[in-house]
């Protein structure tokens, strides 16, 4: 069966152990998580969890139903037509060319956000695939550390 990448948003009550219920469901039933982000929804008692997973249509249908079955889950969406963004930060030795780095980051909707005594930090925010491209391109500047945020998404 066709294994496709899927983005699922889960609206949950913002209460203790809700994240472990979600994560436990995925591990317990053998579903995979590519990335997971969570943060409270402003001015509400809910949080929004964005999960990127891969699976056949049938598996994703099950994932959605099983998520729904959890008591603190309010809504589950599988996104079809969505705007999806991810953020990444990269730490680079200061010996590299600042101008080149700034120009590269600019192409991926980012910039240098911090310059220390011997390293700098550059960040980009873009579609996850393009973030991947950026991380490929940045390799020639000898990155010391890379962090990706995982996807967040909104229905168009």
């Amino acid at each position: 069966m066709e294994q496709a990448r899927r983005v699922i948003s889960v609206i949950v009550l913002n209460e203790a152990s809700v994240l472990s219920r979600i994560a436990g469901l995925f591990s317990g039933r053998g579903y995979n998580i590519e990335s997971l982000t969570v943060a409270p929804i402003p001015d509400s008692k809910y949080s929004r969890i964005t999960i990127v997973t891969a699976g056949s249509i049938k598996v994703v249908e099950q994932i959605i139903k099983q998520l729904h079955k959890l008591i603190p889950v309010l809504k589950v969406y599988e996104h079809e037509d969505l705007v999806e963004k991810e953020m990444a930060m990269v730490k680079i030795p200061l010996s590299e060319s600042l101008g080149d780095i700034e120009a590269l980051a600019h192409a991926y909707n980012g910039r240098i956000v911090n310059v220390g005594s011997d390293t700098l930090i550059v960040m980009v925010a873009d579609e996850p695939m393009r973030v991947g491209h950026f991380l490929e391109a940045i390799k020639r500047f000898h990155p010391k550390e890379i962090v990706r945020s995982g996807s967040v998404a909104l229905e168009r």
């Binding site: 472990s20 436990g24 099950q62 729904h68 008591i71």
Partner: protein
């Protein structure tokens, strides 16, 4: 009313009209036990192991239709209870399990008898709570009972730290449960139901596939009427035994791995499966790609996640079986011609004639199937039947003449050895007017044998019938058939003296080797009305047949096994 957390637990149980709880005290739950001591609204039954407390609560819940309550302490008390909780989860048994926890200040310090209880119970409960403030207790306990009994029923675990049971706060139980994230669909979608009934009216070989959900939704009587009105034949899952009366001409039998030939063939030949509260378990379907290959599927279930999980439903209907069948009946009355299924009835009658459920007598040796049938002849409707897990369980499901829902009580999903005896104690407590029989094996009975003491102490006279073949019989059967007779660790030749064992606890024991002795023992145990162990020596190498080997197709049953 300002009261302690411990008193809140008592008040909540009273408000929920609980008449009995099963439990075992310990350090972290002592405040609550102190409050139990000072009340007389409900009974506390002290089991001799926490696992047994939960199984007893399950038996009570299944026999009564109410929510069962178990109470245990932290750490080992809780971990002992996990098997029972998982069992209840798999079989959708409504339970509230209350456990003590170390005080809040000690949580996370690896304190004495500390374990992350909600972390452990999370994947085997419908929901769970760690109570961090006594002011939340009334709401949480009310939610726990509500969640346990509504929607797809299941166990709910409430973990209460010791300082929370000591804390005084306001107790107000009058607020209605408000859960905006939990709204089970109980009424089926009318459009879907209409389509389903049209499919029934057009089908030539429809088949009711009845699951445990029919019993837990209280729809058994309605399903009997539906089947009679439409003349649609039925197969029952293991969990649904007793939905239709055993003598109902429309009941084919149980289906699945050890189902009857006729039931499995009917499932293979049907053109329309009407699944009610059943979940297409692997022990039922056999090889999925060959399951009900010729059929469209109507699937009615209160749990949307059960629908199209394993077998794709053409007519998915989310709702309570009782509501949906009610709606179906109203439409079917005018639309479904009960006379149109004559040829289908003949086909099934032929399947039945070809290979009925049977066994062969061998001289004087007692056959386990005979023992089950004999209990049925002697006690019939007067008994509630529990079992443990293994060969005896399958023989009971096959051969006992069940006549009503909630008469049958066994561990289906999890397959928990040691379930039967404590569950039968709970069944007895729920239905004192009937005889509570636990049909068990010589392996299973020893897994909760300490419950002899509970049954004796509380005068809950369970009759345990041990089908003793000196083997872990089901595993032995598989070893014989699929592992070239290497009987690895299944020989139970070394055994206790079950008669003396029963007597030492204050019960009564019998050892039986002939039919006459069995009749006499069972009659005596019933008459004496005490806790009994009837140790029945049965044919050692008897196999449960027919059988669909694991992963095989339902229509490809092993009907007999010839020892090579």
């Amino acid at each position: 009313m300002q009261i302690s957390g411990a008193q809140m637990v008592i008040e909540a149980l009273i408000a929920e009209e609980v008449e009995v709880i099963f439990g075992y005290p310990g350090g972290a739950i002592m405040n609550v036990y102190d409050a139990i001591y000072q009340q007389s609204s409900f009974q506390h039954v002290l089991t001799r192991h926490e696992q047994a407390a939960v199984h007893a609560a399950e038996g009570y819940a299944k026999a009564s239709g109410k929510v069962g309550v178990a109470m245990i302490t932290s750490g080992p008390g809780f971990t002992n209870a996990v098997t029972g909780i998982a069992d209840a989860y798999m079989d959708s048994v409504p339970l509230v399990v209350i456990s003590g926890q170390v005080p809040m200040s000690l949580i996370g310090t690896d304190a004495f008898q500390e374990i992350d209880a909600v972390g452990i119970s999370r994947p085997c409960t419908k929901h769970n709570y760690l109570v961090t403030d006594a002011k939340d207790l009334p709401r949480i306990l009310k939610e726990a009972f509500y969640l346990a009994r509504t929607g797809r029923p299941g166990p709910v675990h409430v973990d209460i730290p010791k300082d929370v049971t000591a804390q005084v706060a306001l107790f107000d139980y009058s607020k209605e449960v408000e859960l905006e994230t939990y709204k089970p669909t109980v009424k089926g979608n009318m459009r879907q139901i209409k389509k389903a009934v049209e499919a029934i009216a057009n089908a030539k070989r429809p088949l009711l596939y009845l699951g445990g959900g029919v019993i837990s939704s209280g729809a058994a009587q309605l399903v009997r009427e539906f089947s009679k009105m439409t003349q649609i034949p039925a197969v029952e899952t293991f969990m649904a035994r007793g939905t239709l009366h055993h003598a109902d001409p429309l009941l084919i039998s149980m289906l699945g791995m050890h189902g009857s030939y006729a039931a499995n063939m009917a499932m293979s030949e049907t053109d329309l499966v009407i699944g009610l509260g059943a979940r297409f378990d692997d022990r039922v379907t056999g090889k999925l790609s060959e399951f009900a290959k010729n059929a469209q599927i109507i699937h009615v279930d209160i749990d949307p996640a059960s629908i199209s999980k394993l077998v794709n439903a053409h007519f998915p209907i989310v709702g309570d079986v009782k509501n949906v069948v009610e709606s179906m009946m109203m439409l079917a009355k005018d639309q479904v011609d009960p006379l149109r299924y004559g040829p289908w009835h003949n086909t099934i009658a032929n399947f039945n004639k070809l290979h009925p459920l049977s066994y062969t007598e061998e001289g004087d040796r007692l056959k386990p199937q005979w023992v089950v049938q004999r209990i049925g002849e002697l006690l019939g409707d007067d008994a509630n039947i529990s079992t443990d897990v293994g060969q005896h369980q399958m023989w009971t499901a096959q051969f006992y003449p069940f006549s009503r829902p909630r008469q049958w009580n066994s561990s289906g999903g999890l397959g928990t050895m040691g379930y039967g005896f404590p569950a039968a104690i709970g069944v007895k407590r729920a239905d004192m007017d009937r005889i509570s029989v636990n049909i068990t094996g010589d392996g299973s009975i020893l897994m909760n044998i300490q419950e002899l003491m509970t049954a004796v102490e509380y005068n809950l006279p369970v009759i345990n019938v041990i089908l003793n073949n000196n083997f872990l019989g089901m595993v032995r059967q598989w070893q014989t058939m699929f592992y070239d007779k290497r009987h690895s660790s299944t020989d139970l030749s070394i055994q206790p003296d079950f008669v003396k064992l029963a007597e030492s606890f204050g019960g009564v024991g019998y050892r039986v080797t002939t039919k006459e002795e069995f009749d006499a023992a069972l009659k005596d145990a019933v008459e004496k009305n005490v806790v009994a162990l009837i140790d029945v020596v049965v044919a050692r190498f008897e196999n449960v047949l027919p059988m669909v080997p694991a992963g095989g197709s339902l229509f490809n049953m092993m009907l007999e096994y010839k020892d090579k």
